[in-house]
């Protein structure tokens, strides 16, 4: 299974905003064990959408400016970016099928 690559404030633009393919960004915190539980769900989708969608994760507490910019005051929160814009926002732990549906919607 693909492990989610961590990004930070300094790589956010190149990894997310400038990406030619849609990007799923998982916001988490170190203390959020619930986020850890959610990771396999996202990683499984990272496998399935390999080549079509980029998957990254970012520590929202360590990268406050990015978190605040996107109004992230709760984790896990998943944002889907297309052409540098947020097109989907998913709050909390959701089943794999539900997240997959959102990604499919963005790919259409």
């Amino acid at each position: 299974m693909i492990k989610l690559m961590d990004i930070a404030a300094d790589t956010f633009a190149s990894e997310v905003l400038d990406s030619a393919t849609p990007v799923v960004v998982e916001f988490y915190t170190q203390t959020c064990k619930f986020c850890k539980r959610f990771e396999p769900v996202v990683e499984s989708l990272a496998d399935k959408y390999e080549g079509k969608v980029r998957f990254r994760r970012i520590d929202a507490a360590q990268n406050r400016e990015i978190a605040v910019q996107y109004d992230i005051f709760g984790v896990p929160t998943t944002l889907i970016f297309r052409n540098g814009e947020v097109v989907e926002r998913i709050s909390g732990f959701v089943p794999e099928e539900e997240l997959a549906r959102k990604i499919d919607g963005v790919l259409e």
């Binding site: 959020c32 064990k33 929202a60 406050r64 109004d71 984790v75 709050s91």
Partner: protein
């Protein structure tokens, strides 16, 4: 009964995991369904100071991992799927999940409870944007900021104290003039310089455009309205049982709790319930664990006495 599990456990908090441990050690063919992989409420809590055997306290998620490891070590299988329905009228019972129907000679329901919402304007819209039900997840996002905690029980004070590690000020808003929380928690909270207390007060709305900016408060004695500027609000006003999927299968009371007798039996023979899903009184990790153990012991006895089921 070929193909049927001896026991299906629905939900993997302290009650379900302890039931799983006992059932696995009894060499029952047992499986647990839990969409998050087990741990239940513990995964979202901070320090647990009243679970016996941990004199220095233990983090909820760490206790969850230990309970999971313990049960899995003895053979409990945890399947990360939600249960959508329970067909309990006939034997074997049928437990429905997205991957199919699973036959069970006996069932323990231990799906616990979920946080109650305030039900005020702004709460739904601002979830993940400053409205939180999980301090351990989100407290770090409020570094140096002013936040509120709503509630007066153990969770409100325990989590409130935890949040002071990050926030500048934690305003505890409670609708009564005294807390229900354990005395030792009250003492810690009152001694904490970062905590402020607003009694006899309710939240009328949570305000903010994109994120939480303030709360509209009302004093229930005087009727006076006021506004409190905060960038986050953590809500711990109690819980509701997770019983929507079994309402038609077993008897639940007017608040949705599964009705059980002293042996944790539900209204349907062969179906037990343990932990917060049927407990309106104790609601502790340790009582959940105890109830799970009791239910599993009784399930084993039942299966032994009814080999044809």
């Amino acid at each position: 009964m070929p193909g049927a599990y001896d026991l299906v456990i629905i939900g993997g908090g302290p009650a379900g995991l302890t039931a799983g441990l006992y059932a696995a050690r009894a060499r029952l063919n047992v499986v647990m369904f839990d969409p998050t992989g087990g741990g239940g409420w513990l995964v979202k809590t901070t320090t647990i100071e009243n679970y016996p055997g941990f004199p220095d306290g233990i983090q909820g998620p760490d206790l969850a991992e230990l309970l999971i490891r313990h049960a899995v070590k003895f053979g409990l299988r945890i399947v990360e799927e939600p249960v959508t329905a329970l067909l309990a009228r006939h034997n074997p019972k049928r437990v429905v999940t997205p991957s199919g129907e699973h036959e069970a000679r006996a069932v323990i329901i231990s799906t616990g409870s979920r946080p109650m919402m305030l039900g005020v304007p702004g709460e739904q819209e601002l979830q993940g944007r400053g409205v939180s039900y999980c301090a351990t997840c989100d407290a770090a996002l409020f570094e140096g900021q002013d936040v509120a905690v709503v509630g007066g029980g153990d969770a409100a004070l325990d989590e409130g104290i935890e949040i002071t590690r990050h926030a500048r000020t934690v305003h505890v808003i409670h609708r009564r003039d005294t807390f229900r929380a354990e005395r030792v928690l009250q003492e810690s909270a009152f001694a904490n310089k970062k905590m402020k207390f607003i009694f006899d007060t309710v939240v009328d709305s949570i305000n903010g455009e994109k994120t939480v900016g303030s709360l509209s408060l009302r004093n229930v004695l005087t009727g006076d309205a006021s506004e409190l500027k905060v960038s986050g609000v953590f809500i711990f006003i109690g819980t509701r049982p997770n019983t929507d999927f079994v309402k038609d299968a077993v008897k639940v009371d007017e608040r949705g709790y599964i009705v059980t007798n002293q042996f944790h039996e539900t209204s349907v023979k062969g179906v037990w319930a343990a932990g917060d899903v049927q407990d309106k009184i104790y609601r502790q990790a340790i009582t959940g664990a105890g109830q799970g153990a009791a239910a599993a012991i009784l399930v084993e006895k039942y299966l032994h006495e009814h080999p044809s089921i």
